[in-house]
């Protein structure tokens, strides 16, 4: 008869070291022997982590599951396999019941449930579930982002705070952390393995499990593991400071545990460490920061400890504490930021100079300092992200740029800023930022489809081809690579190939609304209107806030000259993105086509005022003025355009038509000839028609 516990421990050990085949083998043996729900859950986890989702699903689906973790895993598998009904059944439908049943996993369960709701079209329930998840665990950024993307109002100031009454990030996690750190010490520090280790290691990521293991692990039988733990910690010590997230730094170091080298061999340090760890609830492990320069014990196992631990302070030693002041989470204020920045500078200087770790007596901080620091960072980022999601791009850029420099330099923030520029149609600026990101992080593909669209707008064929080639080479199964390739061929006007690649991207990831929108646009250009409309409608059903798709439908109708329908859809797009000059311009055009000249002119006025860099607003205003029979007024706009864009042939063409209307035949001819000079092929030959009055298509505009 196999005792489950040690085997489970072994399997978790394999999992923690990413050795999935080994883990699966052992877990299968355990499951075959015992067949219990716990064993099933363990085996399911092994399958899931190694990507064998179908098997995990099959394993768990026909059982009545009591363990909440097992139910959660089953729900996750079902959701991944798109059988949303099963997922929903596994999770349940009452949010409060879920919150109580799943305990610490509740936020994740709720997030998963929200995903299921969205996929089945119940957006309101999804929003509720996300909100609940956030209230339980303020670090669920994804829920916040989804809420913003859905257009729900969320207040980052409210959301990102530790609401201790409901915060279930518990002591058990902490304790597991401690025990896991022992594990780390074994596994990662290359310290000589003690055979007694196995009994003390517990799976860290199952938060609620085996609390009993905790107690045993805290009091190890032998000195050696403890020493190792110390050494591990002190090995970690080299991280010179805890992540301040741009806030007050290091001075405080309330925490912890500062196992210093001097302490390392003292038994008494252990309870202090444990206490300090216990006291710090919900602190986040700091990101992998500087490597341990002074780690004399081998490479600091930063990565694995980060995986387990929620408590970063435990690994950071505040050696440069000038004063034992605490890190407080003060409300956001600019002056504080400045102070923090200077404080951080001072700190980093002192770190360099001061090589020895000071012995700081561990104290139990009253607050969870690093967690709170992270939360205030998240508040800032949340504000900025909210601006972006609601397409208030200027404010978004401003807010993002106010982030602390380290965060600002991170690729995600840069991508968001570039996206904001893209939404404002500032393609140059966006492309510049994206190319920087590509240089520094060449294997990062998130956001690259937006980069390719910017290059498409700017008609930079060489860069776009290079980008497409690099991304496809990098990973042929990445839908983003195929979107980029599609944009590349679309720019080259090879419609069939572009369509092929866009279809491929959609096949790889049918849930990406933008991919459908791009496919739709390509169909529209290739004049396959039915397929275009179908793609656009699909995009909108996935994400009703995707204004690119709404605009696409509008352009299809415009080409078919169904101006009323086109106007309706442009308005829809505008309601999502009210500050867009391009959209407003198109609205003006639609209105003028419907004959509502006054309305059109006022819309175009607004467009011109809104988007100063977009010359088309003025251009179309001039053309509408001409149509409305006010050629003289059109002249002012056109002269302005001539100044800023002297090589645009259509400006001269329009000037020619205006002069024709005004009766200045010679000026008209002069402008027409300039237009043809600049662009011999013209755009479909209508410039030639402009030359020859007998072929003018709009008789009312013919000069007599």
């Amino acid at each position: 008869m196999i005792v489950q516990e040690p085997i489970q421990v072994i399997v978790w050990d394999c999992l923690n070291n990413y050795e999935f085949e080994n883990a699966i083998f052992l877990a299968e043996r355990l499951y075959a022997e015992v067949g219990s729900e716990e064993a099933a859950f363990l085996l399911g986890t092994c399958y899931y982590r190694s990507g064998r989702i179908n098997e995990a699903h099959h394993l768990l689906q026909n059982k009545t599951l009591a363990l909440p973790q097992a139910r959660f895993l089953l729900a996750k598998c079902s959701a991944d396999l798109k059988s949303y009904k099963d997922a929903e059944i596994a999770l349940g439908s009452n949010l409060d019941i879920i919150a109580s049943e799943f305990g610490e996993q509740a936020p994740y369960a709720l997030q998963l449930l929200a995903k299921v709701y969205i996929s089945t079209g119940r957006r309101n329930e999804a929003a509720e579930a996300h909100r609940k998840a956030l209230s339980l665990n303020p670090f669920m950024w994804k829920s916040f982002a989804q809420l913003c993307n859905m257009g729900e109002k969320v207040d980052p100031q409210q959301v990102f705070q530790i609401n201790n009454s409901e915060f279930t990030f518990g002591v058990t996690t902490l304790v597991n952390l401690v025990s896991n750190s022992e594990n780390i010490s074994f596994v990662n520090c290359n310290i000589h393995n003690n055979s007694s280790m196995n009994t003390n290691v517990t799976p860290n990521n199952v938060a609620t499990r085996t609390p009993m293991a905790m107690s045993t692990s805290i009091t190890p039988e032998t000195q050696a593991p403890m020493k190792r733990m110390h050494s591990v910690f002190s090995g970690m010590a080299p991280i010179p400071f805890s992540p301040s997230f741009g806030m007050l730094t290091m001075e405080e170091s309330p925490v912890l545990y500062t196992p210093t080298l001097t302490d390392s061999n003292e038994q008494k340090a252990i309870p202090k460490i444990v206490n300090s760890l216990r006291a710090q609830m919900g602190q986040l492990k700091d990101a992998v920061f500087s490597p341990a320069p002074r780690c004399t014990l081998g490479p600091a196992p930063r990565r694995s400890s980060r995986l387990f631990s929620n408590n970063n302070s435990s690994y950071s030693v505040k050696e440069n504490n000038k004063s034992p002041s605490r890190k407080f989470a003060a409300p956001k204020s600019p002056s504080r930021k400045n102070k923090q920045r200077t404080a951080k500078n001072i700190k980093s200087n002192t770190i360099d100079s001061n090589k020895s770790i000071e012995t700081v007596t561990p104290t139990i901080p009253p607050k969870n300092s690093n967690g709170v620091a992270l939360l205030s960072l998240m508040k800032e980022i949340g504000e900025a992200y909210k601006y972006l999601a609601f397409l208030d791009c200027k404010n978004a850029i401003k807010s993002f740029q106010e982030l602390p420099p380290k965060q600002l330099a991170s690729p995600w923030v840069q991508t968001m800023i570039a996206r904001s520029h893209y939404e404002l149609a500032q393609y140059e600026a966006a492309a510049k930022i994206f190319s920087e990101i590509r240089k520094q992080y060449p294997s990062r593909t998130e956001g690259m489809e937006i980069y390719s669209t910017c290059l498409w707008h700017l008609q930079r064929e060489a860069q776009l081809s290079a980008l497409a080639q690099e991304l496809v080479e990098l990973n042929r199964t990445n839908p983003i690579a195929w979107l980029v390739a599609g944009n590349c061929f679309s720019l080259h006007k090879e419609r069939e190939t572009a369509l092929k690649f866009f279809r491929r991207a959609v096949q790889l990831n049918p849930d990406a609304a933008y991919a459908h929108a791009l496919l739709g646009h390509e169909y529209a250009v290739a004049e396959e209107t039915d397929k275009a409309l179908a793609s656009f409608r699909l995009a909108v059903s996935i994400d009703p806030r995707n204004y690119v798709a709404w605009f696409g439908i509008a352009t299809v109708y415009a080409r078919q000259e169904r101006w009323k329908a086109s106007e309706v859809h442009i308005r829809r797009a505008l309601s999502i993105h009210p500050l867009s000059g391009v959209l407003r311009c198109q609205l003006g055009l639609a209105q003028s086509a419907l004959g509502k000249m006054e309305r059109a002119l006022s819309t175009l006025e607004k467009a011109v005022a809104l988007d100063t860099e977009n010359p088309l607003c003025r251009f179309h205003r001039a053309s509408v003025l001409l149509r409305a029979g006010r050629p003289q007024d059109a002249l002012a706009d056109l002269h302005h355009l001539k100044d800023i864009a002297p090589r645009e042939s259509l400006v001269y063409y329009l000037l020619g038509k205006v002069h024709n209307k005004l009766g200045n035949a010679h000026l008209a001819l002069m402008h027409f000839s300039w237009a043809t000079d600049l662009d011999p092929k013209g755009t479909g030959g209508h410039i030639k028609e402009g030359f020859d009055p007998s072929k003018q298509e709009d008789p009312p505009e013919r000069s007599t």
Partner: protein, 182 residues
Amino acid sequence: MAGLEKDPLVYERSGTVREVGNHAIWSLSSCKPGFGIDQLRDDCMETYWQSDGQLPHLVNIQFQKKTMVSHIYIYTDYKLDESYTPSRISIRAGTHFNDLQEIEVIELIEPSGWEMIPIKDIHDRPIRTYMIQIAVLSNHQNGRDTHMRQIKVHSPCEPTSFDINKFRNFSTVQFQQYATIR
């Protein structure tokens, strides 16, 4: 003549025409197994269609809706195909098999590369048709069967007559980048 001006891809890339062969149903009067429509439409000059019957050999292109056709391009190579190279080709158009009218006949003399056949009606405009038939009437050196390596059909992308819609293609990037949102 330089093959460049006759290369259909150049025109496709300019955005003024589209290749519409994919919107049509193709059929042949005869073919040798492995040398049929796929080889005729695969964008590869190494593969070809080889007929296997009596002259005239026919390629039938049927569209689902009346399509405007401006040019037909045929790729043949005398150096490779010698007596299989067509020498007289007749282009017919109409609504169905029993309703075809010859609109164009061309003579080829030792062609090597793309041959462009403009399709115009009596008013010199591209025709609108449901069906096109390309008939090979005779081959070089009086060969019986024929090889054709590639065929492309171009349809013009016409700007509509409405004034505003004309302004869809600007000549500078500065303007064009704001013309649409993707």
